[in-house]
């Protein structure tokens, strides 16, 4: 077992910048991934996710800013990667060696007893049958799974995965999600980058959304949902009257008729409970009153598309979120 300070934060990124000439690939990113997180690093292709991951793994030098993995700087020594594993972009292997031979090579370059975990890791990703074949003949999905196996050899406490579901068929994607959930349940902290909202929504408890190298949002998924313009759906015994009452109520906006009922937005839950009382007093008795989750997808597009900076601002103004934009 690597000697790690139990209290050290798995990932602390501060003011991270990577510039390629005129192009700013990563622009002043702050990230904190806590122990036990399944952290989604979300953004469209080309938003700088992979570049950030490469800096986290010490593969490229930041133009400015710092990365700390369990308190250690991967720029200074490979020792910072103790207890850390993962891959950036598609995992790569020596095509002229077999899958098992590739794992043997990686295991040999690991401190610790990675070599003893080769068969187990192959088993976990379901690659034992093909391990004797040359990687050159593997499909993308098989390489992806071998990449996870290569990471698991290190028995990481922190797993960094770059678009782990890319190129997988639906079954493979489901397996990958199940695996990540299982690893997380075993206590592994996971950071995964993705441009697939469904993946992140299903797996992650915290997310960062990045757009053109800059963070547009960082925080819990619940906060993000709440800020996704959460509304309410209302059905009463008297819709006409209900809408009139709602429209006059303080803290209630966007009152609209919608398929046999009414939808509205509320400033907070106090405004909603005040409305329920007002409706009862007005004689429009509530049949249904439920929060309506706006699709995260809508929010994602709002946050990652340029023309709506006000939304991005709103999304980062939540009290539990860190604002970096």
């Amino acid at each position: 077992m690597p000697r790690l300070m139990p209290q050290a934060t798995p990932i602390e990124v501060r003011g991270l910048v990577k510039r390629y000439g005129e192009i700013v690939a990563v622009d002043d990113v702050d990230l904190t991934v806590e122990v036990g997180d399944v952290f989604g690093y979300l953004g469209p292709n080309g938003a700088g996710k992979t570049t950030s991951l490469r800096m986290m793994l010490g593969l490229i030098r930041p133009t400015a800013g710092s990365v700390r993995l369990f308190g250690r700087d991967p720029q200074l020594s490979i020792k910072a990667l103790e207890g850390v594993a993962g891959f950036v972009e598609a995992p790569s292997f020596y095509p002229y060696l077999s899958g098992r031979r590739n794992l043997e090579l990686f295991a040999a370059l690991d401190a610790g007893d990675s070599a003893a975990r080769i068969e187990e890791s192959l088993e976990i990703v379901g690659m034992r049958d093909r391990a004797k074949d040359r990687v050159g003949g593997y499909s993308h999905g098989m390489r992806q799974r071998l990449g996870i196996a290569a990471a698991l050899l290190r028995q990481p406490k922190l797993l960094l995965l770059d678009e782990p579901a890319t190129g997988l068929d639906p079954g493979g994607m489901r397996d990958m999600r199940d695996l990540i959930r299982e690893l997380s349940a075993r206590g592994m902290t996971v950071l995964l980058s993705s441009h697939l909202l469904a993946e992140v929504e299903e797996l992650c408890n915290r997310v960062a959304i990045v757009r053109s190298g800059r963070l547009a949002y960082q925080g819990s998924l619940e906060d993000l949902r709440r800020q996704a313009g959460e509304g309410y759906r209302l059905r009463t015994t008297d819709e006409e009257r209900a809408r009139a009452v709602a429209a006059a109520q303080l803290g209630i906006t966007e009152v609209t008729a919608a398929d046999g009922g009414t939808t509205f937005s509320a400033r907070d839950e106090v405004a909603v409970s005040a409305l329920s009382l007002a409706l009862a007093e007005a004689g429009a008795l509530i049949v249904e009153l439920s929060p309506r989750h706006a699709s995260l997808e809508d929010l994602f597009f709002r946050l990652t598309e340029d023309e709506l900076p006000d939304v991005a601002q709103r999304a980062t103004s939540g009290n539990q979120t860190e604002v970096a934009a």
């Binding site: 992979t50 570049t51 490469r54 793994l57 010490g58 593969l59 490229i60 030098r61 020594s77 490979i78 020792k79 990667l81 103790e82 850390v84 594993a85 993962g86 891959f87 950036v88 972009e89 995992p91 790569s92 292997f93 020596y94 095509p95 002229y96 060696l97 031979r101 090579l105 990686f106 040999a108 370059l109 690991d110 401190a111 610790g112 290569a150 290190r154």
Partner: protein, 272 residues
């Protein structure tokens, strides 16, 4: 146990063993002397133009020496560059650096493991060439005494020692070529460019060697060092060219190696 340079070295050798180009180089090192001796046997002639050329039919000891002279133009530089120019660039081609650099070995350990593997291959190629040339030559022309460049007769046993020493000295410019190949492999991140570049460098130096008016540069050209072994084939042994080869080759090899290390240690490992 923590992995280090030797772990990387061992795996670099395994990687070389699994690649075709390794066998291409080593195969050439074996085939060229075989073909040469076969041609001698079939044709019965001898290369008159080259030093020791006229002894190839009277003693097998002359065969490796003629090949050393002939091979310095491009063959041995090419065999060396085949691996030296590829050993870093191949990682870029397969995008595998990100894999090995996120395990538990430092970059400098990876680099020096690769350097050791490159040298091992280059030396092995020369040793194979020498052994095959000696073996085939002795089979074809016998294990007889050889006439030195000073005209004295050297016994077969003593001659064998001197031939082996010559092969050893030949490794000096070969090492310099290997370092240049490594540098170009690291900088270009492309095998073909690095191999051709190393060969071009080698040929360019030879070109300087034949340009008029630059005679004062000759002792310091890499191409001149390929002939340093001839000091052993004089009586008494002339150490001057051998000593000079040692330091001149270092002047080519060490800066190239240092530059390659610096680039490798500082580079960004990003995709294309």
């Amino acid at each position: 146990m923590n992995p280090g340079v030797l772990t990387v070295y061992r795996w670099e050798l395994r990687k070389l063993r699994a690649q075709k180009r390794t066998y291409l180089g080593l195969g050439a090192a074996i085939l060229v002397p075989l073909i040469f001796v076969l041609a001698l046997v079939i044709e019965g002639g001898q290369p008159e133009e080259v030093a020791f050329g006229r002894y190839v039919n009277s003693t097998g000891l002359a065969v490796p020496l003629v090949l050393l002279l002939f091979g310095s133009v491009w063959m041995f530089p090419l065999i060396t560059a085949l691996v030296a120019g590829d050993i870093v660039a191949a990682e870029d081609r397969h995008d595998t650096l990100k894999g090995i650099l996120t395990r538990s070995v430092e970059r400098q350990q990876v680099f020096f493991g690769k350097v050791l593997a490159t040298f091992t291959y280059a030396f092995l190629a020369m040793a194979l060439m020498g052994a095959v040339a000696l073996g085939a030559g002795i089979l074809a022309s016998g294990f007889n005494s050889i006439t030195s460049l000073s005209g004295t007769e050297i016994s077969a046993n003593e001659g064998l020692g001197l031939v082996i020493a010559s092969l050893g000295v030949y490794l000096l410019p070969i090492s310099a070529v290997a370092c240049i190949g490594l540098l170009l492999s690291t900088v270009f991140r492309n095998s073909a460019a690095a191999i051709v570049g190393t060969l071009m460098f080698s040929l360019l130096i030879q070109l300087i060697g034949i340009l008029p008016g630059l005679e004062s540069l000759h002792p310091y050209l890499l191409s001149t060092q390929y002939n340093a072994w001839q000091g052993f084939l004089r009586s008494p042994v002339d150490w001057d060219p051998i000593v000079r080869a040692a330091w001149v080759c270092s002047l080519y090899a060490l800066p190239a190696l240092a530059a390659a290390a610096l680039v490798f240690l500082r580079r960004d490992v990003a995709g294309d």
